[in-house]
Amino acid sequence: MSRIANRLTIFATLTLILVACSSVQKNQALLDAEQSYAEAKQEQQILRYAPAELERAEQALSSAADADNLDDMNSLAYVGAARIEIARAIAARKASGARLEELGEVKNKERLKAREIEIQREQQAKAEALRDKEAALMEREQALAKAEALRRELEELQAMKTERGMVMTLGDVLFSSGKTELLPGAMSTIDKLASFLAEYPEKSVLIEGHTDNVGSEAYNLDLSERRALSVKEALVQVGVDAARIDTLGLGESTPITDNATAAGRLKNRRVEIVIRD
């Protein structure tokens, strides 16, 4: 009898304890947390960067599911939900860390590019400075060459250096006797002078006509003037700007030698071209 009673008592007690201790039904808080866990479990970033925290979330949720009272279930569901959020935040932070590293490399590359451009610019500036220097040198050489050329050309024009500047003389033989027309023989001198003036646009000329003392003074003055104008005309015809040419008739006033001999008079009949700067 006592045997059966004892047995029954023990079973009854065990049953009571088991019932009292058995887990309560899952409430909404836990179901929500489990749902959010299931979602987190799908996210590669979380699986990759925060597996340990996700594991802790799972432990809290499974403890919540096994809880024997609602307070524990709520609390553990709360902790589980918080741990899911922690996992999410940790994963996001680590992803940002990885991004930082990538961006660091990107920035280094950009810095390198900027530096290269700077170097290029420096080299360009150096090259430009060198070019400028060379250009200046060349300009100087050219100026020297030009001066030398001018000297030679003046020489070729048979110009004489005088206190009035360079002076070239067209002799009487280049004019018809007692007339103003230039003979064809004068044209090579005119051409040379024209190309000289084209090359040195800053220069101008003064054309002076002179005669010997044969004939009246008025006649000689007029003749000298017309001969000077005739030379001017010839120059203008080959393209020299008339504004660069002045003319002056001096008649018999300024002989360069004695008018007593025929040779002297020939020398005195002349046109002088003064080249002015």
Binding site: I10, D68, S75, A82, R83, A92, R93, E110
Partner: protein, 131 residues
């Protein structure tokens, strides 16, 4: 003779059953003092206390502080189960606050770096145009 011998289940199983019951009872009756939980929560709170946390997760952090405070009150009242729950929640709250702040700072660093790269690229563009 027969009565002098106890039934086999009484001899062998009663102590075992009692032990089982004890185990089950202790597992489901009043909790032990949650010293470890309180300590873990306090560690988490200390680790979380920072300007960044106050800036990025002040509410969550405050919740952690309130809960650890309440957990200690319950501990004093020997409401160990409640104290344990509060301590665990406080720990999770503190850790979450810290994780949120860390994430926010990392995001900020990323956007700063992105910005500086943008500026650098603009400078390069301008420099190229000048060339």
């Amino acid at each position: 003779m027969l009565n002098s011998v106890k039934p086999y289940w009484q001899r062998i199983h009663l102590p075992a059953l009692l032990t089982m019951m004890l185990v089950v009872l202790s597992g489901c009756s009043s909790a032990p003092k949650p010293v470890a939980e309180i300590s873990a929560a306090e560690t988490a709170l200390t680790a979380a206390e920072s300007e960044d946390v106050n800036k990025h997760a002040p509410v969550r952090m405050d919740r952690a502080r309130q809960k650890i405070k309440q957990a200690k009150v319950e501990l004093g009242k020997q409401n160990y189960a409640t104290a344990k729950r509060l301590a665990q929640e406080a720990q999770a709250d503190a850790e979450l606050a810290k994780a949120i702040a860390n994430k926010a700072e990392a995001d900020r660093a990323v956007s700063e770096l992105e910005n500086s790269i943008k500026v650098l690229r603009e400078e390069i563009m301008r420099a190229r145009k000048r060339q």
